[in-house]
């Protein structure tokens, strides 16, 4: 347990010390929030769907958690050749504990990042429908973080070179974001797009957050919770398996 704790703490320390990176990582969500939020607002309003800014804020929060958590796992590729990871892989500690420390650390950092973006959203004018349900939104935030930290570890353990990284970025991470309904409502989509969005785990995370923050849901908060928890468990198992197969 000490090993998991110290590796978790390591991820946190690294995050807190990289202030420039924290500031930089707030840039993209703010761009989506302010430009899309206010830019598409009038059209959305005319379509009779209310405030787009309110609608898109949970999507932007989910996006920041997605990027932050998945990149912490993808960083394994670098870390195992030029970083500290190799040191942990020859230590007399079971691989599972190292994977757990790394994944939990990455997920915690992603949650903090999500909270920061939430604060930015509130400052910019985002208002949840009920304050009482806000803690449940953080549960969804945590689930998104764990799901994608585990996915990142699974992929980061399997990658061999930097070219693979670009592929993952363009054909996995960005599609996960764009197909999640973070930017558009899920009702009345073309059939095919509807199926694809329903296969994207992030869809359920963002739908869940909208359910508790805005009373606006497509699948229902309970379904969201169950889907996320099951996908998370499966990905943790896959991540642990891939991580145990790393050769250095």
């Amino acid at each position: 347990m000490r090993a998991i704790y110290i590796l978790w703490l390591r991820e946190l320390k690294r995050y807190v010390r990289s202030r420039a990176q924290i500031a930089a990582s707030l840039g993209q969500p703010m761009l989506y929030l302010l430009v899309l939020g206010f830019g598409l607002g009038p059209v959305f309003q005319r379509a009779g769907d209310g405030s787009y800014f309110q609608f898109v804020a949970p999507g932007v929060i989910g996006m920041s958690v997605l990027f932050s958590s998945i990149f912490s796992g993808l960083g394994l590729l670098w870390d195992r050749q030029f970083g500290f990871l190799k040191e942990t892989l020859v230590a007399p500690v079971p691989r599972l504990q190292i994977m757990a420390g790394k994944t939990l650390g990455g997920a915690t950092v992603a949650m903090i990042q999500g909270l920061l973006v939430t604060v930015v959203c509130v400052i910019a004018g985002f208002r949840p429908a009920h304050l009482a349900t806000v803690p449940i939104a953080f549960l969804f935030l945590a689930l998104i973080a764990v799901v994608f930290a585990a996915l990142g570890v699974a992929i980061g353990s399997s990658l061999q070179d930097m070219q693979g990284f670009q592929l993952i970025m363009n054909f996995l991470v960005l599609p996960i974001f764009f197909l999640s309904g973070a930017l558009f409502p899920l009702k009345g989509l073309p059939k095919l797009l509807g199926y694809v969005t329903a296969a994207d785990p992030l869809t359920y995370g963002i739908d869940g957050m909208r359910a508790v923050l805005l009373n606006l849901t497509h699948f229902g908060a309970m379904t969201d919770l169950i889907v996320l928890a099951s996908v998370g468990s499966v990905l943790l198992v896959i991540g642990a398996h891939r991580f145990s197969k790393i050769e250095i």
Binding site: R10, K13, R14, F84, P92, M162, E247
Partner: protein, 264 residues
């Protein structure tokens, strides 16, 4: 302390290590020399539980690294070819994590970290982030860290690559000191023949996966009828240049070079 018998490792049809046998006694400094791609790193990986041998037997302090992985890991320290420190953490924090991962009790951990950081002349800089260290300081810290859990064997895979003569000299002085003070067996690889000649008690030369010579530096020079170890090495391994095909690790190294400007 290390006993290797008829060790073989093949990757598909390529045999990286071919029927290698040697012994390293307790407290000995053993240098493993060979051209690029001769099988040095593959051998170290098998000795340190990271790779499973195709056939042959390995004993480290009486243990089989594959059967008793965790027990074996507690008994050795390793400094890799590529850096493995966390640059965002301080020297002290890097030592702390290592100590926790190797189950060194709290009090002993602090005491030994202090001793080793002082010995390797890093104590004054213990609270600085490692990314601010010079290449030589990082290397010293990695070696100090390798000694933290009082291993019986320390593996050093090309520890002086990219260092200036001053840092190299100082590094070997420290390694020799701990070797004498704690009777730690040292197994090292290097491309600098003068270092091997000066530091190592015994030397093994490997080429194309086969051990072609073994003995004290003096014996090897006498055996080949040469004046220096470098001449002996060339006499044993020929003067053709070995080009390893670039694997994914090499590609990453290239990438790292591009980004950081220097290797370490």
């Amino acid at each position: 302390m290390i006993r290797v018998q008829n060790l073989v490792k093949s990757f598909g049809s390529f045999t990286a290590v071919n029927d290698v046998s040697f012994d390293v006694a307790e407290g000995e400094i053993f240098a493993f020399l060979g051209p690029n791609g001769a099988g040095k790193t593959t051998t170290i990986k098998m000795l340190t539980t990271l790779l499973k041998p195709t056939s042959g037997a390995i004993e480290l302090d009486g243990l089989d690294p594959q059967k008793h992985q965790n027990e074996t890991r507690k008994r050795f320290g390793i400094v890799f070819q590529d850096p493995s420190l966390d640059g965002d953490l301080t020297a002290w924090e890097n030592m702390e994590i290592h100590g926790v991962l190797y189950h060194v009790p709290h009090k002993l951990r602090h005491q030994r970290s202090e001793e080793l950081l002082k010995l390797f002349e890093l104590w004054e800089r213990r609270n600085d982030q490692v990314k601010k260290f010079s290449g030589g300081m990082k290397r010293r810290l990695e070696i100090a860290r390798g000694f933290l859990h009082t291993p019986k064997i320390l593996f050093l895979d090309e520890p002086t690559l990219g260092l200036d003569p001053q840092s190299r000299n100082q590094l070997w002085t420290h390694v020799k000191r701990v070797n004498e003070a704690e009777r730690v067996t040292v197994f090292l690889t290097t491309h600098y023949m003068d270092e091997a000649d000066r530091v190592a008690h015994r030397i093994g030369v490997i080429d194309h996966g086969r051990l072609v010579a073994q003995g004290t530096p003096k014996e090897i020079k006498e055996h080949t009828g040469t004046e220096t170890l470098e001449e002996a090495f060339l006499a044993l391994t020929g003067s053709t240049i070995r080009d390893e095909s670039a694997g994914s690790a090499d590609q990453l190294r290239q990438f790292a070079k591009m980004w950081t400007g220097s290797r370490r």
